[in-house]
C-alpha cells in the first residue's frame, strides 16, 4: 500500500543536489527516522544524484534528473533516474573504487549499498540509468521523536 509519494524532477545543476538531500531528509523526519538514518539517506541521495549529473549528463546542465520517494507501510523506496549516457558494464561500475573519472573515488555505489537494504541499477547505453533503492522501515520499534 502506497502511503505517500513525492517525485522531484529537476535540472541537472549542482545547486540542486543540496535540495534533493533536503527533500529526503524531510521525508525521513516525517517518518520519525533516527538522525543517523536520515544522515545516511542524505548521503545515498547525494551520491545517486551526483552520479546522474556528473556521469549521466557529463556535467551538461538543462537536462532533467528524477528523484522519486515512495513511502510504503514498511519501506521507503528511492529511485533516481537520468536519461544520460548510461553505464556499459554495470557490474564493473558497482565495484568498490571503480570510477571512470580519475579524480573520483569510486565509492558512490559502495555508500548506496551500505546505507540501503536493496539496490538495483538498470542502465542502457545512450538511454540512461535508473537506480532503485529500498530501505526497510522498522516502524514497530521506532522510538518517539523526542
Amino acid at each position: 500500500m502506497k502511503v505517500n509519494q513525492l517525485v522531484l524532477t529537476f535540472s541537472s545543476v549542482a545547486e540542486n543536489v543540496g535540495i534533493a538531500r533536503m527533500l529526503v531528509a524531510s521525508v525521513g523526519a516525517q517518518l520519525d527516522l533516527p538522525l543517523n538514518d536520515i544522515e545516511e539517506l542524505k548521503v545515498t541521495v547525494s551520491e545517486a544524484v551526483s552520479n546522474a549529473i556528473i556521469h549521466g549528463y557529463r556535467g551538461e546542465s538543462g537536462r532533467l534528473v528524477l528523484l522519486e520517494l515512495e513511502i510504503n507501510k514498511e519501506t521507503l523506496k528511492i529511485t533516481v533516474s537520468d536519461e544520460g549516457c548510461g553505464i556499459p558494464d554495470v557490474e564493473q561500475a558497482m565495484q568498490p573504487a571503480f570510477s571512470t573519472d580519475p579524480e573520483r573515488m569510486g565509492l558512490g555505489f559502495v555508500f548506496m549499498q551500505s546505507f540501503m537494504d536493496e539496490l538495483e541499477v538498470d542502465s542502457t547505453v545512450n538511454q540512461g540509468t535508473t537506480v532503485t533503492m529500498v530501505k526497510y522501515l522498522d516502524r514497530s520499534t521506532a522510538s518517539p521523536s523526542h
Binding site: A14, E15, I19, S26, E103, M105, L107, G108
Partner: protein, 133 residues
C-alpha cells in the same frame, strides 16, 4: 507544565558552504563550515591548490568542526589533495571531525591514509615533531 508532543522534526540545512583560511608558519589551516558535496568540493580544491602553488604551502590542516555533510565528492577532493601534497613531500591533516561525519569518512577508508587529530593544536604539534625527527 504539561508538554504535549504533536509532531516534531529536526531542523534542516540546505547546501551551504564557507571556509575560513589561516596561514601559520607554512601551514594552511582551513576551517570548513557547511556541506561538502559536488557543488562545493571544487571550491575547497581550488583554495588548497592555490595556496600550494602561490605560497608553497606543504602542510594543510582541515578543521572539520562545522562540516554538516560530506559525501564521496567531498572525500575525493580531500584524498586528491593528500596525493598531490604527498608527491610534493607535504601532507594533509584533519582535525575536529564530528562523529556523524567521521562515520562516513571511516567507511571510505580515509582514516587509514590521513591522520586525524582532536584539534588544530594537536595537528600542528604533530607537524613540528615530524619536522624535528
Amino acid at each position: 507544565m504539561d508538554a504535549v508532543e504533536l509532531y516534531s522534526e529536526q531542523p534542516m540545512k540546505g547546501g551551504f558552504f564557507r571556509m575560513e583560511k589561516k596561514i601559520e608558519r607554512q601551514t594552511l589551516i582551513l576551517r570548513l563550515d557547511g556541506d561538502l558535496d559536488m557543488k562545493t568540493a571544487g571550491t575547497l580544491r581550488q583554495a588548497i591548490d592555490h595556496e600550494i602553488e602561490r605560497r608553497g604551502i606543504r602542510i594543510v590542516v582541515l578543521n572539520m568542526e562545522k562540516v554538516k555533510f560530506i559525501d564521496s565528492s567531498g572525500l575525493g577532493v580531500i584524498l586528491g589533495r593528500y596525493k598531490k601534497l604527498l608527491s610534493l613531500g607535504g601532507k594533509v591533516k584533519i582535525s575536529n571531525v564530528p562523529p556523524h561525519i567521521y562515520k562516513i569518512m571511516e567507511l571510505s577508508g580515509l582514516p587509514r591514509i590521513i591522520r586525524f587529530f582532536s584539534d588544530e593544536t594537536a595537528a600542528q604539534a604533530d607537524n613540528e615533531e615530524g619536522r624535528g625527527a
